[in-house]
Amino acid sequence: MKLTLNVWRQNGAATPGKMVRYEMPDVNADMSFLEMLDVLNEDLIAKGEQPIAFEHDCREGICGSCGFMINGRANGGFSKTTVCQLHMRHYKDGDELFIEPWRASAFPVVKDLMVDRSSFDRIIQAGGFISVPTGSAPDGNAIPIPKSNSDRAMDAAACIGCGACVASCPNASASLFTGAKISHLNLLPQGQPEKLDRALKMVTVMNEEMFGSCTNIQECEATCPKGISIENIAIMNRHYVEASFSQRPAMSEAGAG
């Protein structure tokens, strides 16, 4: 099939970018979207032009590296799909596509379709973990966990940290990402000691990183490649409010002796 691509080209966060038009005369329907860009890049290199920079690694929808806007929708608006898993059979001859990087002030452009998502790492650093140093764990079966809790924790833990939720949200909110991590850990018995502290700190850092607020638009859930539910945002809000009332710094952290 024949496609026309308009791709956002930008050298870095400090330089302005622009849309550039490319004609693709012969796109195979079995290619993935990224393989189509590979073909375009090989052509550009042969012509002595700069290839399009885009993030990718596993190419099987699990590493969370890839992702961009296609025709204004994150990953083209297909449900439960990353661009590496999006095959060209979903498009038809003559289509014109507009390809842009994730748009959010918390995700500055690195180059072309690549953005800086290190703000996600900083949200995790705030409390997205269980403090258990290597070697200090009890037997794996010491604490039975009801299967339904474990399954719900797994549903939330399936997040790949790609940023599609932020990109698709008109407020550029990271609530789905943050909520998924809070509920993954807070639903498990192992996560209980740090439950409220976690919610308080992660939400605080999320706000500091200049992500917008959640106003229940639900675009995030609709475009999440892993189908993470906005129920996790409700859990986050509940634990955050609870923490705001009850969490205060301990009087003293030092022990006697």
Partner: protein, 637 residues
């Protein structure tokens, strides 16, 4: 070179414990005076960096991705083995040890493998405590499933995303240390050279992938958790970024490369569909718990699979290996598929495929149970092929998946360069000539959480380390070397793209150093790769500049290293005149077409030494001694 593998003596059950007791310690107040560099933050590197940080060392960790959460460990699907014996089905540490050693066709060290089986149980505990949501039974206890090469059910899993969940666990532990300031995490940066001073690894040269800046980092020890080199074949199940560069550059600085030809070809991947294809996608081995592998009995069968009656189907694994059936180990299942396709009974347009069929399991258990167990894998399959695997059997074919070879390490996971430790898939240590399913995650985490933190401590405590400045002559020399290579690549300005060279290399490797190898083919490949190498350095084109984000330049350096490694793999495969595990020399097979080992002449680790540009590498042999298990002809019948 004499290889001291530092294998402990005495009863195998006690060897790791007594080694640990005899190790030197660093007192808590002194730990902060040491600086350890960790390259690669997947399961092995990430777990190690986090654990060292928890101990109180200053750690600087590097990854080439934008976040440590993207390391390719994330893509592991099926599970992680541990000798918990929660199923009461006869498992034990000794049995996991035995299965792993046998699975590796008796080409690994007994003591290493035994230690791996021992610490496997701690891994599960640690991961559960971190919040890894392993699958559970209704009573709340951990669930298990079976994997190839074992007759017990010892594989723990988190749906089809076990690697993801274990990596996220390690990543979270790592980020906790980053928050505490104990670990400094540097992303989007790749290692281009190793700095060796007074015979010890003392630092690395890196390139910032966004700005192109080359930096020198000095430390007291260097850890490589940089993964495997399956991408030497171009098409593999590895992530596109997976590369051998850190390992290869360390090899050129004196670290021996062991058993490079031991490659795992995974039997169940989605077949290749076109020239433009950029990677292959694995269908987890766990599918073989319920899926049955078959091929039509007739040549060039044209009927749709659901129209082929039972009597015209050949469930060849069940037929040839009745006691393990569909759960025969990977090397054996892959070769069986190849034989079926070579006979002309392959399916699909290319004839390179066999069926993995869930019809019977769906009839027995219902579609919902199958969906719960493998839903995400079925979805991946349907997405890629456009076919519904609940209705029609999957088509699968073997693909390059894992490399058992890697940098040579001793029992302490230290390479032949003191102070350079190598963990996980990047080292050669535990899987011999074939890795069993669900053992890669186990080894990565064993090395990172439970072995390296002890052995690195011991090294730091017993070694006198002079203070080194970043402008040390060796450091500056290493940086010049890295800059020189980048400049050379940028200035060739030839006609062929990096990917064209990579494809050509991959095809040569697959044709001559893939599932079956022979003397003439390997000799041909060595010459062919030399031609590719010469052309590469005269005719590759790398657009853009070195002082900028340049993905083509990154890839050019990696492919240059793959070309050299590919040649070493063929040399190693040529030298090893026996068949074992994934290394199948056509000249050495039993009358039934199984691998024929030659223990008398080849029961050793082949550790190759770099001798300089253009010089033949030197072979060092580390003999393998079996005191606790008697090597036998591997049988899964």
């Amino acid at each position: 070179m004499t290889l001291n593998s530092r294998i402990p003596t005495g009863p195998i059950e006690k060897s790791w414990e007594s080694t640990k007791f005899n190790m030197k310690l660093v007192n808590p107040a002194n730990k902060r005076k040491y600086h350890v560099i960790v390259v690669g933050t997947g399961l092995a590197g990430g777990a190690c960096a986090a654990s060292l940080g928890e101990l109180g060392y200053n750690v600087t960790a590097f990854c080439f991705q934008d976040s440590p959460r993207r390391a390719h460990s994330i893509a592991a699907q099926g599970g992680i083995n541990a000798a918990k014996n929660y199923r009461n089905d006869g498992d034990s540490i000794f049995r996991l040890f035995y299965d792993t050693l046998k699975g590796g066709d008796f080409r690994a060290r007994e003591h290493n493998v035994y230690r791996l089986a021992q610490v496997s149980v701690n891994i599960i505990d640690q991961c559960v405590a971190q919040g890894v949501p392993f699958a559970r039974e209704y009573g709340g206890t951990l669930a298990n499933r079976s994997f190839g090469g074992a007759q017990v059910s010892r594989t723990f899993y988190a749906r089809g995303q076990t690697g993801q969940q274990l990596l996220i666990g390690a990543y979270q532990a790592l980020e906790r240390q980053v928050a505490s300031g104990q670990v400094k995490m540097i992303t989007r940066t790749e290692m281009l050279d190793l700095i060796v001073i007074d015979g010890k690894a003392r630092g690395i040269v890196t390139r910032n992938l966004v700005t192109g800046k080359m930096d020198i980092h000095i430390g007291d020890a260097v850890v490589l958790g940089t993964g495997g080199y399956g991408n030497v074949f171009y098409l593999s199940t590895n992530a596109k970024g997976s590369n051998v560069t850190a390992n290869w550059r360390a090899h050129k600085r004196g670290a021996l490369f062991a058993n490079p030809c031991f490659t795992q070809i995974h039997p169940t991947c989605i077949p290749v569909s076109g020239e433009y294809q950029s990677k292959l996608t694995l269908m987890s081995e766990s599918l073989r718990n319920d899926g049955r592998i078959w091929a039509p009995k007739q040549l060039e069968e044209k009927r749709s699979p659901d129209q082929i009656p039972e009597e015209d189907r050949d469930y060849y694994l069940e037929r040839i290996y009745p006691s393990f059936g569909n759960l025969a180990p990977r090397d054996i299942a892959s070769r069986a598929a190849k034989r079926v396709c070579d006979e002309g009974r392959g399916v699909g347009e290319t004839g390179l495929g066999v069926f993995l069929d869930f019809r019977d399991a769906i009839n027995r258990l219902g579609e919902n149970t199958i969906r719960e167990r493998y839903g995400n894998l079925f979805e991946i399959y349907e997405r890629i092929t456009g076919e519904n695997p609940y209705k029609f059997p999957m088509r699968i074919f073997p693909a390059v998946h894992y490399t058992m070879g890697g940098l040579w390490v001793d029992y302490h996971l230290q390479s032949s360069i003191p102070g350079l430790f190598v963990l996980g898939e990047a080292n050669f240590s535990d899987h011999g000539a074939n890795r069993l399913g669900a053992s890669a995650l186990m080894q990565g985490l064993a090395d990172g959480y439970f072995v390296a933190p002890y052995t690195i401590t011991n090294y730091l405590a017993e070694t006198k380390l002079e203070k080194v400045a970043t402008d040390h002559v060796e450091a500056m020399g290493a940086r010049e070397n890295a800059e020189g290579m980048t400049n050379r690549l940028m200035n060739i300005k030839g006609k062929k793209t990096v990917t064209q060279f990579h494809r050509e290399l991959g095809k040569t490797m697959w044709d001559y150093c893939g599932m079956a190898r022979n003397d003439a083919g390997l000799k041909h490949a060595i010459g062919k790769i030399q031609e590719i190498k010469e052309e590469f350095w005269q005719n590759v084109t790398v657009p853009g500049s070195g002082a900028d984000l340049n993905q083509q330049l990154e890839n050019a350096g990696r492919v240059a290293d793959f070309i050299e490694l590919g040649q070493l793999m063929c040399i190693d495969a040529l030298e090893r005149k026996e068949s074992c595990g994934g290394h199948f020399r056509e000249e050495h097979q039993t009358s039934e077409g199984e691998a024929q080992r030659d223990d008398e002449n080849f029961s050793y680790v082949a550790a190759w030494e770099y001798k300089g540009e253009g010089a033949a590498p030197a072979l060092n042999k580390e003999p393998l001694n079996f005191e606790f298990v008697k090597p036998a002809q591997r049988s899964y019948k």
